[in-house]
């Protein structure tokens, strides 16, 4: 998970220190990816684009702004969203049970939706519903991928899953990786599936009424989410770090290209796509793993 499948034994407390370092780096990686995305997208559209570090500047600015709010409970939900995203990251870097990782991630997203619902703005409300439908579509795929991972390794404990890897998982789970790219595409808020935060339709979607520091919390946990997904995608290429990094870059470019060449669909479009193409991908892979083991 941390680019290596075995911690070096010459390094004292490597099994604690390395995960902690990764945990601290994770949001920075996420922010960096978002910055690179803006730059690459801009170049694709023949613009110069913002500097790569723009998301860091944005975040710093957001945290220094005046504190405005519409009601208290939405602020509590913002913290809960970030808190459980962080918990997910902790479970992931310490190689815990992948089903628990799935449930903490989902709970975090649930708090995002609750935050959207708790303010009476119609845009926020509509965004909340769209976010909920997104969760229904995407988390289903994600859970299938997680289960395939567990069924393949005959255990759900991530440390044991990693221990058992001989050849990269991509060989046994190629379609699951394609599903992960779809999940990544949605998490990056790219067209055609950026329906919750469709800013040309519903302002900022679920985050319409958040501003300043509170909006910054969501930016931070979004970066964390990107980092988490990248780590899980990297898992498919353990123990080959070079292949892994190349494939992550390729997936990233695929996602950015799709995002710049498509138009947004409706929530029904997302629903139809994930419950036909998406489910077919993960189910076929799951059946194949069951049959060939």
């Amino acid at each position: 998970m941390t680019l290596i499948n075995d911690y070096p034994n010459w390094f004292p407390f490597a099994n604690i220190i390395i995960p902690v370092i990764v945990l601290i780096l994770l949001p920075f990686i996420g922010l960096l990816v978002l910055g690179i995305d803006r730059k690459v997208s801009a170049r694709m559209q023949n613009r110069i684009g913002p500097p790569v570090l723009q998301p860091f500047y944005d975040l710093a600015k957001l945290f220094s702004k005046q504190e405005l709010y519409t009601n208290t409970s939405m602020l509590v939900f913002a913290y809960a969203h970030l808190g459980f995203m962080f918990t997910t990251a902790i479970f992931l870097v310490f190689r815990q049970d992948i089903i628990v990782i799935f449930f903490t991630l989902t709970l975090s997203m649930i708090f995002l939706v609750l935050g959207a619902f708790s303010t009476p703005s119609p845009y926020s409300y509509l965004g909340g519903y769209r976010e909920l439908i997104k969760i229904l579509c995407i988390e289903t795929l994600f859970l299938f991928v997680m289960l395939t991972l567990g069924v393949n390794a005959k255990t759900f404990l991530l440390s044991e899953v990693i221990d058992k890897i001989n050849t990269p998982l991509i060989i046994r789970m190629p379609l699951s990786f394609v599903a992960m790219i779809i999940i990544f595409l949605v998490a990056m808020e790219k067209t055609p599936f950026n329906i919750p935060g469709a800013h040309s339709e519903i302002v900022q979607g679920p985050l319409t009424d958040y501003s300043g520091r509170w909006y910054g919390l969501f930016k931070l946990s979004h970066a964390l989410e990107i980092g988490i997904l990248l780590m899980i995608m990297y898992l498919f290429f353990v123990p080959n770090p070079i292949l892994g990094i190349i494939m992550l870059v390729v997936s990233f470019l695929v996602v950015v290209t799709i995002g710049n060449t498509t138009t947004r669909t409706t929530y029904k479009g997302l629903f139809k796509f994930s419950f036909t193409v998406g489910i077919a991908l993960v189910l076929i892979n799951l059946i194949a793993v069951v049959v060939f083991s």
Partner: protein
């Protein structure tokens, strides 16, 4: 004999309480309420006390009346003739009443046949008529504790409703019958108590005595009487093939390797009717016309649990019969998924909760169908947490309904500021059913781990889980929306039961590993003893399957993220602004998304029921086929 009486306290106490409450309510409502509270508290003490005694047996074989006749035979006849009379009495309802009549006659004929032709030949009579073992303990605990809380709540709820005397009499009788059914080793006693719950549910659903309530009560009557027919025919088959009328003797034949699978299939179908598994789900939805405490009781403490009890009890009979296990798991998975899908289309909170109950029962049946130690443990755990959480949710909805005179989600906006206590209870209840770190999550987790042996059920579990997230989150979002309104005070008789259940849920989630080890694993049947090496490896103790997952740190995260911001935000100086609405004044008039055009009851009810009917006929055929191969 005196020991027997003590052991039967959980049956006798509610009977006495019901009788006294009936008399007291005729005199004055306050006296009645006092009696009900008194006996509820006594019941909540007596139940757990009996559990501390360990396995208890009650012989009770000297209850002879009318010469040679055992008391149970007389009681069975009285009850069945009562059903026939009842069916004739409500014949104005039309066809369903006649169906009930036919089913009552069928039961009467079977019991007559049993007593005249079979009973004399039975070699192995039950050693003890009542047998309170660790499996019964779990149901006893749920029934007395949750039931007691519901009764206390009901004293307040029924304050201004009509006819409370009969209401509390039947409620107490229901709890007594439920305890009796899980205690019974003698199958005829089991049948008697089983049918008493049918009668009680009819009377309670028809409490308001309107045309709608009568129709729905009749629906429940004939569907559960059908289950009674399955049960008594199954009992007769057991007597024919195994020469016994005792559950213990029947199960001690080990895994039924040769024949008699028809009987097991019949018992399973009887359980399906009680637990409202598809295609028998309709009556539980109709039961929503009853006062809310009845819904709470039906859905959590009694009735639906009885079917689950039956399945858990006879699990050893199919451990060597893979086909039956898979079919059972699919029946449960089908119910879990499609009840959740139907729940999405409900805008009525009680109906949504009813479908979510059916969905959870399906998940329990799925877990039982896995027929492994892990699945069995998951089923027990889910049963436990579902009972507590669902009672809490129904009671909360009841309070809301009394206040705002609506059960619709769309009218529940801003509940968090209007009724903060109730809203927090709803939050705890819903999170307990769907999210970590609460107990029901642990069962879903165990189940997903269990899917490694049966990958065929994976899609059911996955889709069911994510669909449930959809409608539960929508409800939570609804109650936390809108700016502050005036707070409404809440009665102690509402607050204490709700708070008690919430504390029980949080504590048992916190100590879930200890609870699983000390209470639940004791109920595992002997057949899973060969999987005992799992216990030494610690899977039973939730050790190895869990990594360093423990509920405590997650509870701390939840507390930190929810409470600490809530506390420290108060001391911050922030500027409150209006929500963004393009600069226009805010008009709140949103309805939820219910997808009624594709998922409405009138659209998918019939096809789903038809599919499930075909599936259960198939289940039965496989059972009978098992008798020959």
């Amino acid at each position: 004999m005196s020991n027997d009486i003590l052991g039967l306290m959980p049956i006798i106490l509610p009977l006495v309480g019901g009788g006294l409450a009936y008399i007291a309510y005729l005199k004055s409502r306050n006296a009645g309420a006092a009696i009900v509270v008194l006996f509820s508290v006594a019941l909540m003490i007596a139940g757990p006390l009996l559990i501390l005694q360990g396995t208890t047996t009650m012989k009770m074989d000297n209850l002879k009346v009318f010469g040679d006749f055992d008391i149970i035979e007389v009681l069975d006849y009285i009850l069945i003739i009562g059903f026939i009379g009842l069916a004739i009495g409500i014949r104005k309802v039309g066809a369903p009443a006649y169906v009930a009549l036919i089913l009552g006659v069928a039961q009467l004929l079977t019991v007559l046949y049993y007593d005249t032709s079979l009973k004399g030949d039975i070699k192995y009579l039950p050693v003890n008529n009542f047998n309170v073992d660790p499996l019964a303990h779990i149901f006893l605990l749920i029934c007395t504790v949750v039931g007691g809380f519901i009764l206390i709540y009901a004293t307040k709820y029924m304050e201004k409703e009509k006819n409370p005397s009969r209401f509390f009499l039947v409620m107490f009788l229901f709890i007594a019958a439920m305890n009796g059914a899980v205690f019974s080793d003698n199958l005829m006693w089991l049948f008697f108590f089983w049918e008493i719950t049918t009668l009680c549910s009819f009377l309670l659903i028809n409490h308001d005595n309107t045309e709608l309530s009568l129709n729905n009560a009749t629906l429940a009557l004939w569907m559960t009487l059908l289950g009674g027919v399955f049960l008594i025919v199954g009992i007769a088959l057991i007597a024919i093939n195994y020469d016994t009328s005792s559950m213990v003797v029947f199960l001690s034949n080990g895994a039924l390797q040769d024949k008699l699978f028809a009987a097991v299939a019949l018992l399973a179908l009887a359980a399906f009717t009680k637990s409202a598994i598809y295609p028998f789900q309709k009556w539980l939805i109709g039961a929503m016309v009853a006062p809310t405490p009845v819904s709470a009781l039906l859905h959590s403490a009694t009735m639906v649990n009885l079917g689950i009890y039956m399945l858990l009890r006879i699990t050893p009979t199919w451990v060597n019969f893979d086909m039956f296990q898979v079919l059972l798991a699919i029946a449960g998975g089908f119910t879990f998924l499609f009840a959740a899908v139907q729940a999405v289309a409900q805008d009525d909170a009680k109906k949504m909760l009813a479908y979510s109950t059916i969905s959870n029962l399906g998940l329990i049946v799925l877990a039982i169908g896995l027929s492994s130690a892990l699945g069995y443990l998951a089923a027990l755990m889910l049963l436990f947490f579902h009972a507590f959480a669902k009672a809490m949710l129904f009671m909360s909805v009841g309070v809301v309904q009394k206040r705002i005179h609506s059960k619709s989600f769309d009218d529940m906006s801003g509940l968090l500021s209007r009724m903060p206590f109730i809203s927090i209870m709803i939050f705890i209840g819903v999170l307990a059913l769907m999210a970590l770190p609460f107990g029901a999550f642990v069962t879903k987790w165990l189940l997903l781990e269990g899917t490694m042996t049966y990958p065929v059920i994976v899609p059911f579990v996955v889709f069911g889980t994510t669909v449930s997230v959809f409608f539960y989150t929508q409800w939570l979002g609804r109650i936390s929306s809108e700016p502050a309104r005036k707070k409404v005070p809440i009665s102690m008789r509402y607050a204490v039961p709700l708070g008690g259940l919430a504390v029980a849920i949080v504590l048992s989630s916190l100590f879930i590993a200890q609870m699983a080890d000390s209470v639940l694993t004791k109920a595992l049947p002997q057949v899973f003893a060969n999987q005992g090496d799992i216990a030494s490896q610690g899977a039973y103790s939730l050790g190895t399957v869990t990594g360093f997952y423990s509920t405590l740190p997650l509870f701390l995260v939840l507390m930190m993220t929810l409470l600490i911001p809530a506390l420290f935000l108060r001391s911050r100086s922030m500027k409150k602004v209006d929500p963004y609405c393009c600069g226009k004044p805010m008009k709140q008039s949103f309805r939820g998304y219910y997808f009624k055009d594709i998922l409405g009851d009138n659209k998918i009810d019939l096809p789903l029921t038809a599919m499930a009917l075909v599936a259960s006929v198939f289940l039965f055929i496989v059972g009978v086929w098992g008798a020959w191969t």
